[in-house]
Amino acid sequence: MVCFNRVITFRNNYDNDATTFSPTGRIFQVEYAAEATKQGSAAVGLVSKTHVVLVALKRNAEELGSYQKKVIMIDDHLGVALAGLAPDARVLSNYLRQQAMSSKMVFNRPLSVSRAVYSIADKAQENTQSAGGRPYGVGLLVAGVDVTGPHLYEFQPSGSVLEYVGAAIGARSQASRTFLERKFEDFPNATREQLIEYGLIALRDTLAQDKELNSKNTTVAVVSKNEKFTIYDDENVQQWLDKLDSLANSRSRGRQDDDDDDDEDDDDDEAAAEQAETTATATSGDAPTTTQDRAPDAMDLEE
């Protein structure tokens, strides 16, 4: 794992449980849990003034296996996309569903998105401060609409929660973020259709060169004030893929960002192979957009 390289001296000392601080004040078990979210396939979320969109890439473990569900509906106004350990996501979304039901039962109102996401954040924090459990190994994008409008939150195993205009989690999601950072100023006024297109383009940027989005591996979900949380899968998602194809047939990538390597699951052979491939083709530039900025590091965002 990447983290081992950074702290090679202390290996096996401070990273055995979530209740031990390293001498620099870090909690490695929590950081490793965050790594688990980067092993999962990518999910992308975007918000306009009216809509929230989630798009996600589904994986199948083997050719004859089914594709892993990536988007879970919580309530009519709320849903999540996951990256990482799917069973952990099911536990958290089950909890969210209980919260949503309770809000309807007790107050006759839908659960607010912030209250929803902080409820699981506080639950996740407990697992980072006491023994007898492990941190959750999943990241979530929580999308929903409430009286204050549409919202998109990113949830991390550390119990950290932040509200974004556009966010991406999972394998190679840095490529998506790069796209989102370039386009996010257009999101607020984007239509429902445009927002989904932006989402699909961002998701496509996470793909290896020989992979493409198809109706089997792509999930789209939308929610707005007047539209219940709707998930498009399989034949239903084709309409959106068609839109994407009419927009630009070939991939918008002429480069591959090598800045994102500390996000990457280097030990994942497939991903490493994919990256090697894409790096090799970086100069050939088969995409229409050729000159693009290199992806800035997420933590270092000087203009």
């Binding site: 202390f10 601080f21 001498p23 401060q129 509200e163 205009v165």
Partner: protein, 260 residues
């Protein structure tokens, strides 16, 4: 770091031969590199401020609030592990509510801190938990007037005229000491808090930040913990930027030269 390799720092609740609890010290390390927070106690109120580091331009501006309310009359700002801070605040809210349900009146600030200090201390006593990775600055007004405290990962808490935590705490403390905290008005303290956060940010210059400011004052907010109104926030930021330019004009120019 004489602690490393001794084995006494691998578990919480363990004393080293010279009587230290290393896990608590390591928890403090989580605070030392975090965004700067500060609190000021004035004649009739409290000001809390924090430097919220912006890690991505995709974050929604002015959301993701960091300063929280424990009760109507009590505010908290913390530096360190944010989820730990929320845990701390939730506990404070529970304590405030349980006090109110028992005594039918709002909890006093020293009493609240007594309970919170107790809670944080308990997280240094067992190897099944780890200490809180935060320094929390808690301010509020009760019948005895304004109070300001800072709780540390060890569970220790002291009362302050002004307190600072996080990366820029040294700069902030030096500036806070220059203020006349016995006479300053809460409104002026808001502006000074903004200026000091901007100044402390110099230690963290490569990252963008958002300033968050709250206050409690009998006169201005009727004793309630509130975010400062937009116009005052803008005024404070303007003051902070102007003062910053005046103070460090020579510094910033030399910085530019170095950059070039």
């Amino acid at each position: 770091m004489t602690s490393i390799g001794t084995g006494y720092d691998l578990s919480n609740s363990i004393f080293s031969p010279d009587g230290r609890n290393f896990q608590v010290e390591y928890a403090s390390k989580a605070v030392e590199n975090a965004g700067t927070s500060l609190g000021i106690r004035t004649k009739d109120g409290i000001v809390l401020a924090t430097e919220k580091i912006i890690t991505s331009k995709l974050l929604v501006p002015n959301k993701n609030k960091r300063i929280q309310t424990i009760d109507r009359h009590v505010g908290v700002v913390y530096s360190g592990l944010i989820p730990d801070g929320r845990h701390f605040v939730n506990r404070g809210r529970d304590e405030a509510e349980s006090f109110r349900s028992l005594y039918k009146e709002p909890i006093g600030i020293p009493g609240l801190l007594d309970r919170l200090g107790y809670y944080v201390q308990a997280y240094t006593c067992y190897n099944s938990v780890r200490p809180f990775g935060i320094n929390a600055i808690v301010g509020g007004i009760d019948d005895d007037g304004p109070h300001l405290y800072m709780v540390e990962p060890s569970g220790v808490y002291w009362g302050y005229y002004a307190a600072a935590a996080g990366k820029g705490r040294q700069t902030a403390k030096a500036e806070l000491e220059k203020l006349d905290l016995t006479t300053i008005s809460t409104r002026d303290a808001v502006k000074e808090a903004a200026r000091i956060i901007y100044l402390a940010h110099e230690d963290n210059k490569d990252k963008e930040f958002e300033l968050e400011l709250t206050w409690i004052s009998k006169e201005e907010t009727n004793g309630l913990h509130k975010f400062v109104p937009k116009d005052l926030l803008e005024e404070a930021i303007k003051y902070a930027e102007e003062e910053g330019d005046d103070d460090g004009s020579s510094d910033s120019s030399s910085d530019e030269e170095m950059d070039d």
